[in-house]
Amino acid sequence: MFRKKGKLLAYLVMTALVLILAGCGEQAPGTSTGQEKVNLTGSGSSFVYPLLNQQIEEYRKQNSAITINYQSTGSGAGIKQVSEQTIDFGATDGPMTEDQLKAAKGGKILHIPLTLGAVAVTYNEPNLPKDLKIDPKVLADIFLGKITKWNDPKIAADNPDVSLPDSTITVAHRSDGSGTTYIFSDYLSRISSEWSSKVGKGTSLSWPAGLGGKGNAGVAGVIQQTTGSIGYLELAYAVQNNLPYARIKNKEGNWVAPSLQSTSAAAANATIPDDMRVSIVNAPGTDAYPIAGFAWALIYQDQTDKAKGTALVNFLNWAIHDGQALAEGLHYAKLPANLISREEELLKSITFQGQSLLK
């Protein structure tokens, strides 16, 4: 009796599960069009995640057959996974190094700029004003763990009108491989020789001080939960969290807050090489915000699947043209117009069996 009952139950559970699964499969959108269905998987930069996520949703409204799954795993993971060909495309905000490019299993990887972003220096100290001035050298000293109090004379020197609190500074940084970290440490290496020799630049560093958080979101969480903290975030994350961000002294000696204009200004004077791997930190220009950078899509020049490759190239082409309209609402700067035509050429060079995929 018992075993019959058990069997019956097992069959019922299995049948129910199969029905549930089948039901959900039918619900999947994109079944109405006659187009071939394509699923793409990408992962990487959390810096570009809010923009890419919205672009994907928007693109899907027009092309329901194409589903793009983008997971915000951090630039380090994006580079690793695209190199190991476990995903269809990666995204990073720190360009791949020569060694990384050589290690890629599927041949030549192209960097396609998706957007421009600023890395904001944010803090959580209720007694501080919204636009504290932080000198680059002071910034390096804070992240080196040499300045530990908010009322340190070096901070006070640039903020004479502010009564600084006598609280301890807690540094918040990324714990995972991160392009935001790359941009930030690239900047600190340019302006501080001590940072350059002791810590250097990279997607993950051995930090002299502070608490780690996973992803931009994780760092935002650490900052929000820790009074007296300072950290670096992609501008959109700082704005979303209502976190104040500091004005930084740029190369020309002006105090500049991160914004779309100051980020575009940083890109305006940059000379961008053909492979698009360029650093625009500490850029010249009176209004240029000094901690800014590109986020790139990483894609193999030689695609191995025609349908996937075509969908990917078309999406990227849309993202650098129409998709840019979504950028400013999310606090990303639009790509410079002269760059977009060069990117188009790059996309046209992506091939399947020698044939260009972009029509």
């Binding site: 018992f2 075993r3 009952k5 058990g6 139950l9 599960l17 549930i20 699964l21 959900c24 499969g25 619900q27 999947a28 269905k37 699923n39 998987t41 992962s43 995640y49 809010p50 996520n53 919205q54 994907i56 949703e57 589903t67 799954n69 983008y70 997971q71 915000s72 795993t73 190991e84 060909q85 476990t86 995903i87 958080g213 996973k214 992803g215 979101a217 994780g218 935002a220 969480g221 929000q224 994350y237 979303q240 969290n241």
Partner: protein, 278 residues
């Protein structure tokens, strides 16, 4: 007089026991209450039927994550439960004391203690890299590997509890060893074995770490088992660490659903199989 003192002593100790029991229950009900309080407000029909929405947009759900978790737990159970139970039968019924069973028992104990993230890395290297993509299969396999030692251990303990005289009674009637195991030993221990299997299922249903490298995650429906797939724990992890209030709410609701799934699993196991006992 002495009698009254004894009565007081009795009452006093009883109160101490009751207090200790209540304290032991506080964490359980604390967690349940907290998740209920925060999760219930975000739980609505949209949560169960909608896909996640892009950042900042309201009305997103976790339908794909709920189904994804069910699928991967099902895959893990289909692989893990038969292997675990069969291995345990071998260890208790056929080979209690040889070097092989000693090695298997030792390996099982070690495997039980291995952090689940390491299972994830191993599957990433052995399966994801070989297959060239993240998938529900890889995720299910990682969960199965975590399940197997748990099931071997619990099944073995249950089979050991079956009195040897029951087996001997079977042999005395001329029933073969295989039949004795199938018809007498296993049904006797069934309730315990199933409870053990259910506990293993409940344990892996909440695993996050091994899925990060194997199932990856997906904001849409996975169309086949060979594609990246969403799961509740990973989704909760991503949402809980995000700065967005809507996503925090969804993470609480997801936690509530996950806890309810585990509780229902336990209740089903107990209710459906309560008629048999050792």
């Amino acid at each position: 007089m002495n009698d009254i003192f004894r009565k007081y002593q009795n009452w006093l100790m009883l109160i101490v026991f009751i207090i200790a029991t209540i304290i032991a229950l506080i964490p359980l009900f604390g967690v349940l209450g907290y998740v209920l309080k925060n999760g219930l407000s975000a739980l609505n029909i949209q949560f169960f039927i909608n896909l996640p929405k892009a950042m900042g947009l309201p009305g997103g759900g976790m339908a794909n994550a709920i189904v994804g978790t069910l699928i991967m737990v099902l895959i893990a159970s289909l692989i893990g439960i038969p292997i675990g139970i069969l291995a345990a039968i071998y260890l208790t019924e056929y080979d209690r004391h040889s070097w092989l069973s000693t090695v298997v028992r030792f390996a099982t104990d070690v495997l039980t203690g291995i952090p689940s993230i390491i299972v994830g890395i191993v599957i990433y290297t052995a399966v994801v890299l070989k297959m060239g993509n993240f998938s529900a299969l890889a995720g299910g396999l990682a969960l199965a590997i975590i399940m197997i030692p748990l099931i071997i251990r619990s099944t073995e303990e249950m089979l050991k509890l079956v009195s040897h005289s029951i087996r001997e009674a079977g042999y005395a009637l001329g029933i073969s060893k295989g039949k004795t195991i199938l018809k007498i030993v296993l049904p006797t221990a069934a309730k315990g074995i199933i409870t053990g299997a259910m506990l293993a299922v409940a344990r892996v249903a909440g695993e996050t770490a091994p899925l990060l490298f194997t199932a990856l995650g997906n904001q849409y429906w996975a169309r086949s088992l060979n594609e990246p797939i969403a799961s509740l724990p990973v989704q909760i992890f991503q949402y809980a660490t995000s700065p967005y209030k809507e996503w925090h709410q969804l993470a609480w609701a997801g936690s509530l659903v996950l806890i309810l799934m585990v509780i229902i699993l336990n209740l089903v196991a107990r209710f459906a199989f309560r008629s048999r006992s050792i």
